[in-house]
């Protein structure tokens, strides 16, 4: 089953609507550094991260070329493949810059993706919550024990 998941819950509904209306097969919202905010269509979190890293790399290198040319920030890039198209957009939200990486097939078009991307950006701006105060502590003081166990199991060895 295809699922939509969000690390930042306020992005979930706007992304769901976008996917349904634009007919996207895969969609990713990330920070400019490639951290995943929300995704649709990927089955494994680690695959999402690879796509996010590549999307952020494309965005970063394009932004750098723009900077060299004294051009303002790029808004969108598209790649028309044989079976799939790829669309990468760069936009601002009240919670900072975001990237959207969208993969669409024959059931959609670049025109539709572009059109509903405008709605997505608007809906994200409206849905963004005021930055809430975060709990003061993240990790317990003895997190090293968990870390050691995790790394040991990861590498299949004793510490």
């Amino acid at each position: 089953m295809t699922t939509t998941r969000a690390v930042e819950p306020w992005t979930l509904e706007p992304l769901r609507r976008f996917v349904a209306e634009a007919g996207a097969r895969l969609a990713l919202l990330t920070t400019p550094a490639g951290q995943v905010i929300a995704q649709h269509g990927f089955t494994r979190a680690v695959d999402v991260m690879a796509a996010a890293a590549l999307g952020a790399a494309i965005a970063a290198s394009t932004a750098e070329i723009n900077r060299m040319l004294d051009e303002p920030k790029f808004r969108a890039l598209t790649h028309q493949g044989v079976r799939h198209g790829i669309f990468l957009a760069n936009f601002e939200t009240p919670r900072g810059s975001m990237l959207a990486l969208v993969v669409y097939g024959a059931g959609s078009s670049i025109g539709l993706v572009q059109l509903f991307m405008e709605d997505l950006v608007r809906e994200l701006a409206a849905a963004a919550p005021v930055r809430e105060a975060q709990p003061r502590t993240v990790l317990a003081a003895d997190f090293e024990r968990d870390l050691n166990q995790s790394l040991a199991s990861l590498f299949g060895r004793e510490i």
Binding site: G23, S108, S109, I110, G111, L112, L115
Partner: protein, 116 residues
């Protein structure tokens, strides 16, 4: 805008009741050329009309009657007309409810032939 595209759009928009016309790339839903009244969202009309056309194309092909040659979508306050040109461009017109559909269709087919 290239003269040929402008002429094609002019031939449609001069019909009484036509509010505007757009040439749209059928595969990607992007505007090739447009002559629209203010307030009509050209990119939305282009993307959605192309999407509609692609769906109807699938339906007519599935029915074994080949590709659609004319779409007339009558809305409560006007019409959307679509004619595909052989070059992969769609000619889309936004019109009033009382439009002379026959005349508009004829002009749109002529414009499409000009693209062949």
């Amino acid at each position: 805008m290239r003269a040929g595209l402008r002429a094609a759009l002019d031939s449609i928009t001069r019909i009484r009741g036509v509010h505007g016309a757009v040439l749209v790339a059928a595969d990607d839903g992007l505007i090739v050329a447009e002559a629209l009244m203010e307030g009509v969202r050209g990119n939305a009309v282009a993307a959605l009309a192309a999407s509609l056309y692609q769906r109807f194309l699938r339906a007519t092909e599935a029915a074994g009657v080949q590709r659609p040659e004319f779409l007339h979508l009558q809305a409560s306050q006007g019409s959307l007309l679509v004619v595909p040109a052989p070059s992969g461009v769609l000619i889309v017109a936004v019109a009033a409810a009382d439009i002379n559909v026959g005349l508009a269709r004829l002009e749109m087919i002529r414009a499409a032939e000009a693209f062949a």
